[in-house]
Amino acid sequence: MGFSSLLDIIGSTMVGGIILIILFRMNDSAVENHYLNSGELIVQTNLISVVELLEYDLRKIGYCSNWEGAPVPGEALLSATDTSISFLTDVPTDTKPFGDGIIDTLKYWTGSPLEEDVLKTPNPNDRMLFRQVNGEPPLYSNMGITQFKIVYFDALGNEIPLYTLIANASAKQPLGIITMQIDITVENTASYGDLADEENEVYSKDKSAFWRQIRLAAPSLNNR
């Protein structure tokens, strides 16, 4: 083993080391990308699940499988705010997918980002989405919702001011809502990176998904 062999070993070790460093960096990058892609999948899946559920339920405001037992269309919406909605409908059962003919009260609302359950997640903005049927305990899930906003419109397409809606709901007057716009933003409840590192902000909007239903109308709210 001569001097040249020694140089070979040193050289190959250096090249090998460089390659290893490159590979480690590539590995790190691959893991990060995989994490981000998984996060995107979670965000997309959660968003679509929320949207499908909301659209399915909100399209049935005022619906009853026994039409003679249906509520007065204009009075089917019980209360409405920009983050909650309560209405009369016929919720399907396991055996009756078109409803059992008995009117139910369905309510959706979002919780606070300061609730104990959502404070456990790394994302500081996420909040629970609650769904309650009649007086049963509300079902909820953290789908990473950071914005849930509903805007309401009357028969002439004008936006209805929120204070009017709240006043009418308390007086048990018809709310006059014919269509609604729903805005939902979903973010990943987990994170990649350091929250304290402002240059590596992980909760920026490019890691969220936004969805808007421009005019959702419930046919049974307006059919007579």
């Binding site: 090998g16 899946t45 049935k60 009853c64 039409w67 078109f98 006059g176 007579r224």
Partner: protein, 431 residues
């Protein structure tokens, strides 16, 4: 030796990256597939909703329409099949089933969606206020119309009147504002607004005579002359009735009859003449009269005509809800119009619980003029159907101050054989 080791390391990492890349690609494509699945479901739903709307439109144009000769509609990459059934409790039930077809990775897939709707004949009693001809008057700020509203002409509003039920018009709406101090044009349609909607004003007296002849009660003078009929309903489910030839002054001796046997299907019809009504209704009935020329075809209200229990329950803020204890229902049909008699009983308010059908006018007060005394309040709890609005009071207090409250039970239920159009309306929609 070192070179071989590096080679092994590189190969190992390459294999690892291949697996990681594969998983990463799958994750990305899954996210896209999730959105694609929503798109596919939405597309299928849109096809079903469109097909249902097409079927509803065909039925509105032709009530006898029973489906396409080929009941498959192709649109937007899919197709819809419309089926019709006629259950006992509705005129027609439609089911629009849509199938959206798509290709993925060389294979054909399909997604199904359904829209169901139920149609029923449009019954006039379900309107809180139906007026065939609106005229040149205005509904103004401070006016509130309870229940569904319809007119076959153009509706005029001034300022911001409130409509609590759905509003439909055949000829649109003329919204006027900033006039006579009534504020900007901003009518409130709490139950929605739709135009043009055609609900023709018709009355088939022959059909009513037929129903009354088979299980109901028909009054007619033996000589074929016009006949006046007086009915006083009692809360014990009896009716006290008497008759006279129209134009004469003496009534026959009143007879008390049990309503169960007096009319088994609940319809009481005067073939031609006038009808005089009062009392407390126990049960579900439709009473009316056809005209026989001259001053006939009128229903005169001689006193309150009410149910045993008010159909409305008043809650806070003047809001009303349906009184669950009230099971009575009355339809009053006048081929001419309904008139409140100017007598002692009616000069201190009048209460009317009924669906009032005025084919040739609207409810009015006998001999009404601006020099009449103040007669209090005319409360109508039910629904008002008329050809055109008539005067019931004046701003100087003469006549009545009119309050009309809609009986919500009329939305899904009607007095027996109450007039209906031949057209359909959607009463239930599932999507």
């Amino acid at each position: 030796m070192g070179g071989k080791a590096i080679l092994i390391v590189v190969i190992s990492f390459s294999l690892m990256f291949t697996v990681v890349k594969y998983n990463s690609s799958n994750t990305s494509s899954n996210a896209a597939e999730r959105l694609a699945s929503y798109y596919i479901k939405t597309n299928a739903h849109n096809i079903a909703a469109s097909a249902a709307n097409i079927a509803a439109n065909e039925l509105f144009r032709d009530p006898n329409w029973s489906g396409f000769s080929q009941d498959t509609l192709y649109m937007n990459g899919g197709y819809a099949v419309i089926s019709v059934s006629k259950p006992a409790n509705a005129k027609a039930k439609f089911d629009a089933k849509a199938v959206y077809k798509f290709f993925y990775a060389g294979e054909e897939f399909s997604e199904e969606s359904r829209v169901n709707f139920v149609l029923n004949a449009t019954n006039y009693s379900r309107f809180g206020y139906y007026t065939n001809v609106w005229g040149s008057g205005y509904l103004v700020t401070g006016d509130t119309i309870d229940g569904p509203f319809h007119t076959q002409t153009k509706l005029n509003t001034l300022g911001s009147p409130v409509f609590l039920g759905k509003v439909t018009t055949k000829q649109g709406i003329n919204m006027v504002g900033n006039k006579y101090g009534f504020g900007p044009a901003n009518p409130e349609f709490k139950g929605g607004y739709e135009t043009p909607v055609d609900v023709p004003f018709t009355l088939n007296t022959s059909a009513l005579l037929g129903v009354a002849s088979t299980g109901g009660r028909v009054f007619q003078h033996p000589s074929g002359s016009n006949l006046d009929v007086r009915l006083h309903f009692n809360a014990d489910e009896t009716v006290e009735w008497s008759t006279r030839k129209t134009g004469t002054s003496s009534w026959s001796t009143p007879i008390v009859a049990d309503l169960d046997t007096f009319t088994t299907n609940g319809v009481i019809w005067n073939k031609k003449g006038n009808l005089y009504l009062s009392g407390t209704v126990n049960g579900k009935y439709t009473v009316g009269t056809a005209k026989g020329g001259g001053s006939t075809g009128y229903v005169y209200l001689e006193d309150d005509i009410v149910y045993r229990k008010d159909p409305l329950k008043f809650v806070n803020g003047g809001t009303t809800i349906t009184n669950p204890d009230c099971e009575d229902m009355l339809g009053i049909i006048a081929e001419k119009q309904v008139v409140v008699k100017d007598n002692a009983a009616n000069r201190d308010d009048i209460n009317i619980h009924a669906a009032l059908f005025n084919y040739d006018g609207g409810i009015t007060v006998e001999g009404i003029s601006s020099s009449k005394p103040n007669m209090g309040t005319m409360r109508i709890h039910g629904s008002l159907i008329e050809n055109s609005a008539q005067t019931t009071g004046y701003t100087n207090g003469a006549g009545y101050h009119q309050v009309i409250k809609y009986d919500k039970r009329y939305r899904n239920s009607t007095p027996p054989s109450f007039p209906a159009t031949t057209s359909y309306e959607i009463v239930s929609w599932f999507e």
